[in-house]
Every structure is written in structure tokens, then in C-alpha cells.
Symmetry: C2
Subunit: 363 residues, 2 copies
Amino acid sequence: MIFLLLAVELVINLFDLKKVTILDIAKELNITFSTVARALNDHPAISAATKQSVRETAERLGYRPNKVASSLRSGKTKIIGILVPRLDVSFFSSVVHGVEGVMNENGYTILLYQSQESLKQENKGIETFLRSRVDGIIASISLETEVAGSYAEIRDRNIPLAFFDRVPPELNVPSVTIDDYRGGFMATEHLIASGYRRIVHINQYRNINIFNERLRGYLDALERYGIPVDERLIIRGDFSLEFGRQCVRDLLAEGIDFDAVFTLEDFTAMGVVQELKASGKRIPEEVGVVGFANEAFTSLVSPTISTVDQRTVEMGEEIARLFLKLLKKGDYYKHKPEKLVLEPKLLIRESSSRRHFPPSSGR
Amino acid sequence: MIFLLLAVELVINLFDLKKVTILDIAKELNITFSTVARALNDHPAISAATKQSVRETAERLGYRPNKVASSLRSGKTKIIGILVPRLDVSFFSSVVHGVEGVMNENGYTILLYQSQESLKQENKGIETFLRSRVDGIIASISLETEVAGSYAEIRDRNIPLAFFDRVPPELNVPSVTIDDYRGGFMATEHLIASGYRRIVHINQYRNINIFNERLRGYLDALERYGIPVDERLIIRGDFSLEFGRQCVRDLLAEGIDFDAVFTLEDFTAMGVVQELKASGKRIPEEVGVVGFANEAFTSLVSPTISTVDQRTVEMGEEIARLFLKLLKKGDYYKHKPEKLVLEPKLLIRESSSRRHFPPSSGR
DNA sequence: CTGAAAGCGCTAACAG
DNA sequence: CTGTTAGCGCTTTCAG
């Protein structure tokens, strides 16, 4: 008989495993479910004994608090939406890695969405986040996003919003970026200091703020050291390894004189290096190269490629921390938005390590 | 007067923007909220006219369906939990990229959790997913997970669960993996075919199935071609670039004869290449090298490194598709679990491209 | 074709 | 210290 009862209970348990609620715990202990709720939430006005027994039976019955229900009631989901262009780009996956780590320590979970660099997908992502009632949104805009349409609505709904790296221009919201201007300046200054004078800059054709800033840094560094700007040395295209190769081929074919190349990002720099090597140019003796992003391969290829590190994981951690501060305040849009700008790190490697010319000495 | 009314309405709208419900739409149209609900869900028994007007006022009022409420009621969240060791490893971020893409197309959103290779974090992630009432879980286990404890509970609760790449040994659940045995075999066979005979294999010390399989492939290839196994050529450690260098230093210091190295993964192979170059060994003439994973840098360094491609994005897409099939069935654990095994791709590059010795010709 | 009503599992105000 | 009660916003029967 006792065996039969046990067996029945076991079956019931297995069957109902996924629907154990605080009411079930309450019934077991002959108390009301609100007491159970309070005990589980460690409410101060509950006796230690009650808390203990509640926790035990919760454990025994395999109770899992239903976040959906508590979210509906409390209006807080403890979920943060993260919208990135794409996760198979190491820059973004590193940042998300950093964000998730910090958010997770603070009890938040990450809802992930990729815009695939498309404006339409981006808006779909925001719509999804809004419907999911996320407690906040962290985003980096797609290349297509020139005007931040859907983001305005997030602010109107008073949902915390912050950006990293790619920030929409007109929107006045918190953000974490690196100082792309400084990055461009440092890279160019370093090339000048190493004695290079005819410095090519490969940028891209879209009107993206961070990319324009790198260009501006390049231009200002030239000006600062009295080097004339030659428009033929400023090339715009769509960044890729192949485009880097193409640029070098074109420069050589057109007989344009140059002794260094500073590229928008590392894959382009890699293409430049490959094509220079193929053309018998010595790096860094004849041509210096500096990339941008500190992709893993830049320290492994030969010559190792000088580049500008964007401090990706830190960026993720900082945006998460900034965000947690935001969440504590009630009115996110009443305060002046905090804009954190990280200093990039210039990594000087073989591709630009020529003998030193002090910048002040001029030509 | 009319101006005042408009102003008041505007203020109210802005203020209530985030709390527009189906009830508000219903009031506007003098119908009941259940009609509104049906209209929004495109229920067949609602007139086209009603649907039209409901949709228009929904749009006008800035209505956003509350997924939290519908999830609570329907018991479905349309959210899939993804648990990966860490997102700053390109393998995992690529897979997640693939998964998100397919899931997103099918109306699911991704809740992301990183175990950071820790068993404790892994269990926290599962707990979070359970509490969030995700509709399913896709995971790749941490290196610490030798026994799949928490995963069993997921199955007991009849929540769809599937693994990719790192699959817990005892659990009989659906999975997508690549054929690591084949990968190990192909890499070794290729080295043998290229005339290498004293082939070192660098593996690692933990008892991880996929890594053991690569070793098994290595051993079987040797046996198949009648090459004796030399235990001194099988090295175990913790994989890293530095460990690869260390292994080569040790081999050379101990005067162990070898002419090729097949490593568990690419960073170790990179270390091997670096140290071989530093020791003046010619690659591939004196020593051949093959890695595993097809990291971006392997095709960019010199010599380019032969490796085994794991088809990461495909793996993500396949696991997502397999999962969608699972979700359609009611009883996920009644059927025999589908285990998809992808064929790895051997990529022969410079580091192992020596003159060809037909495998059958022997030594 | 539309309305009425119940309830998903929890939080929190109010009452003892 | 514990119980009562009223929803959160939606889905889904059951009636018309």
C-alpha cells in the first residue's frame, strides 16, 4: 500500500514538475501563497522557520519561480536587449561578451538581436524588444542607419537606451565609444614620427561618424606636422581585404608616390600588406602600414601589423556599467546623457617600425 | 477650446504611451477587448472591416502587444535560451550568429548566457532559462562539465534541448556536431600522404569527447597506413599559442625525432609554427603543420596554416533548423533524438604542402 | 461574427 | 508575523 502511494506521488510529481507554483507549496505547508511568496523573496516580516520550511518544500517539489508572471505583475523583466549589426564580427562579439558578463553579475539577462547591417532588421529588433518589455536597450547601429528613426520612440517610452561604438548622430543619449579621432591622429602621427611623409588613407564611402572621425584625425595630424594633404592619397571604398589589395594595385599602376598606408580597419591593412609584398615592396622600410581594430591576426602575420586597439571587452563592460547606473535613475531622459569616450591604444608592430624621425625635425 | 483639448489629449497620449492595451483600443472603437485581441491575431471569424479599424487605431495609439502577458497566458514565450562557454571565441560567436539568423526568421528570439567554461555558471544559466520559461535550450557544454547534471532536469520538464559541438556523453539528446574523428583522421592521413611519418599530435588533458575523437582519428590514421604509434609524440596540455611553442621547444630539447605536428586547434598550431621558424626549421619542407578550427588568421599568416574547417555558421543554422523541427513535435523525448554529424573540411595550405607521397606507397 | 468571463502565476497594498 | 484581495494584459473557452 505504501509502495503504491509512493509510486502515485512519484508519477504526479513527474507529471506536474513543470507546473509547480507557490500555491502548491502553500498547500503542502497549510499556509497562504502570499506567505510563500514573501518567504521566497526573503521578506523581512517572515519568520526564519517559515522561510526555511518554504525553501525546503520549494526545493523538494522542484519549484521554479515564473519570471514571466512576476514580470507581468511588477513591470520589470530584468532583461536587456542588445542590438548589434552582426555577431560574426569579432568586434561585436567581444563587446557582447563584456556586456553579458557584467549584466549577468547584476541579475540581468541578455536578449540578442542582429540587424545584419540592415535598417529594416534593426527596426524589427527594436519592435521585438519593445514587445518583450525589456528593461533597457543597448545598441550599435547598422551601416544603413543614417537617421535614427525607431530609436526616438524608445526614448519617448522612457526606456533606457545606450549606444556603443556606432552612435546615431542626432540622438542625444548615453554612449561609450572610443575616440576615433584620436585613433586616426595617433596612427598618422606615429607614421609621421617614423619618417613617412606620403601617407595614404583608405576609408569608406558611407557617412558613418566613427569612420569620418578617423579621417579627421588623419587630416589633423598631417596639418599639425605641416604635411600637405594630397587628395589622391585619400581613397574611399567598401572595406575588405580585397579592397586593400586593389588600392595598392591602383596606386602603383597610377604611379602615385606613397610611403605609408593607414587603413580604416585591419582586413584592408592585411590586403595592403599582401599586395605590397607581392609587388616586392619592403615593409616597413619602403612602405609603412597601420590598421585599425587589433584583429587577432594582426599580431600573428608577418610582418606583424601595427594597429589601433579599440578595447572591445572594456567597451562592453563600460557600457554595461553605465547602463546599470541609468537603470537606477527613474527618469533616464531628464539628466544630461553620460558619454564615455575611451582612449584608443596604438599598438606599434613591425609593419611600421622604421628608424625614428622625431616629429619636430620635419623633413 | 479645441486647442486645449488637443493639447490635453497629446499630453495624455505621451504619458500613457507605454501602457496602451487592447482595452484602450476597444474603448476607442466601442467594441470589446476580446474582439480587438482576435482582430490583432488575425482570427478568421472577424470581419475585414473590424480588423482594419482595429489595426489603424492600434497604430495610431502606438500600441505594442505585451509579450509578457501573452506568454503567461499561452505558456509559450517564443524565446530560445542559448548557452555557450564564451562569446569571445570566434567558433561560438559564429555558431550563435547562425542560430540567431534562422531562429529570428522563424519568430523566435534568443536569450544569451555564457558559462565562461564554468560548471557553476552553466547551472546558473540553465536555472535562468528555466525561470524565464524559454521554449527551448540550445547549448554547448563547458570544459568543466564531465557529467551533465542540470541538463537532465530540462528533459524531465519536457523542454526541448539540443547540443552543438560539445555534447555531454551520457545524455541521449539531439545534437549537431562535426565528425571530429574524421577531422583527426583526414588531417593525419593528409600528412601521411604528404610523406610525413613522425607525426606529433598535441591534444589536451581533459576528458572532452570531441578532443578524444580527434585523437582517435589520428591514431586510426596511423594504424591504417601502418605507422607505429609513438607515445612520446602524443602530448597533452592546455591549448594555447604558448603551449604550442613549449611543445616544440621540449621536442627539440629532448631530441625527439619528428617531421610533422597535428594540433588540437589553431592557436597551438600557430605557436608550433612560430617556434619552428625561430629554430630555423623549414615549413613544410622539414616539418609539416596542420591545425584545427580554421581561425581567421590561419589563411593570413605565412606560411598559411592547413587546418580543419568546422563549418561554424552552418552548424548554427543546422542546430536551429533541427530545433525548429523539435518544437513542432509535442513529445520531444519520445522520439529517437536526431544527431546530425557534419563532415569537416580539410583545408590544405602551405604549412603542409610538401611533395606528394601516395599513401599506399609506404615509406 | 462578437461578447462575457475565467485565469495564467505572481506582486503588493491593505488588513488583521 | 500572516492572510485577503485585486489586478498585470493577454488567450481562450463558452455563449450568443
